[in-house]
Symmetry: C2
Subunit: 204 residues, 2 copies
């Protein structure tokens, strides 16, 4: 409208990128409520067909939009101190997960997933499970270096770590702050850490 010289009506992949960006922008502005296909089309100055040609549903669009910004360097650092590395990652991912545009999009997907088991599976596989896997990789290395006990079920431990944070973020009204993360890591290290207990080669 204001500047039509900047809108040469892109096509194909270029339009796809613009649509994903428009979805994220709209989500950041209006939240999940008010986030629907017609709104995205209006926002992007696009016919609804242009969206439906690319994604079969709002959920599919949200999945791609989330992928676009969920490249948040999810890889844990490895300083040799597993607790410090987990702490840094948890504190960093908190605002990223709750704030715009990820928060509203994530909430939208969770909402729609409640009525769609297939979407729930996809959401779990493409995002929740990825976070768990990254966490599992990091704590597995810590197990190899002796920071964590040998016989721990780390797969489940990773689920508890991530699950607790997701529970806070998405289901409760609490915030994930430093105190939360420290308490979570206290519990984690008390359950699985080798410090302050009989070592793997020690007595008992």
């Amino acid at each position: 409208m204001a500047d039509q010289s900047a809108a040469p009506r892109r096509r194909g992949a270029a339009r796809t990128d613009e649509l994903l960006q428009a979805t994220l922008d709209l989500a950041a502005e209006v939240g999940y409520a008010g986030l629907n296909i017609e709104a995205v089309a209006r926002r992007a100055g696009v016919g609804k067909h242009t969206i439906y040609r690319r994604w079969p549903s709002m959920a599919a669009l949200l999945l791609d939009a989330l992928s676009r910004v969920w490249t948040t360097d999810l890889d844990y650092r490895d300083t040799g101190d597993v607790r410090a590395d987990l702490r840094e990652q948890f504190l960093r991912s908190g605002p990223a997960l709750s704030g715009p545009p990820v928060g509203p999009v994530y909430r939208g997907l969770i909402a729609e997933a409640q009525a769609d088991p297939a979407l729930r599976a996809t959401l779990h596989e493409r995002f929740l499970l990825t976070v768990e896997t990254r966490t599992l990789e990091r704590i597995t290395r810590a197990q190899h270096t002796g920071e964590l006990v040998k016989d721990a079920n780390l797969e489940f431990a990773a689920e508890v770590l991530c699950g607790t944070l997701y529970y806070r973020h998405l289901l409760s009204t609490r915030v994930v702050d430093e105190e939360t993360v420290d308490q979570l890591l206290d519990m984690f290290m008390a359950a699985y850490g080798t410090a302050g207990r009989a070592g793997p080669t020690g007595a008992g």
Copy 2:
């Protein structure tokens, strides 16, 4: 229609009960998808006004409907063995939480809560927090009897226990089975239990 002698058009509180029951029945049949005010009205043979006069929104109706069946004796037993009592309760509440009619109603509330922060707070306060509080009470008694260490942050421990189960039930595609509960309790007891470590009055 089929038998009008059994439908003497109740009023007031009696109708309210019938509407809540109809909501639960419908939720059990069609799940969260297809659960809306018009469907409840049709199912109950009722005008929409009769529902709107009682509840301002679908979410409010679902909250009351959930309260109606969420009286599932949530009180933990106290056999003196905190792990066994938690195990029993977790295994019992699993099917109750996932299956009909609680599961679909719960999913519906979670879905709507994603677009409504006030509903999210109400949901957390009236249901999630209640479960956490019951758990906290039970493990606090265990702390007093010496089953759990003195300096543990049990409030957070209760959140982790419940949060992990809710994460499984509502966000992941995994099931909460005996193995899950046992792993969760392994972690819990390893982190907070007094068995197998220096006792509160012992050395260290």
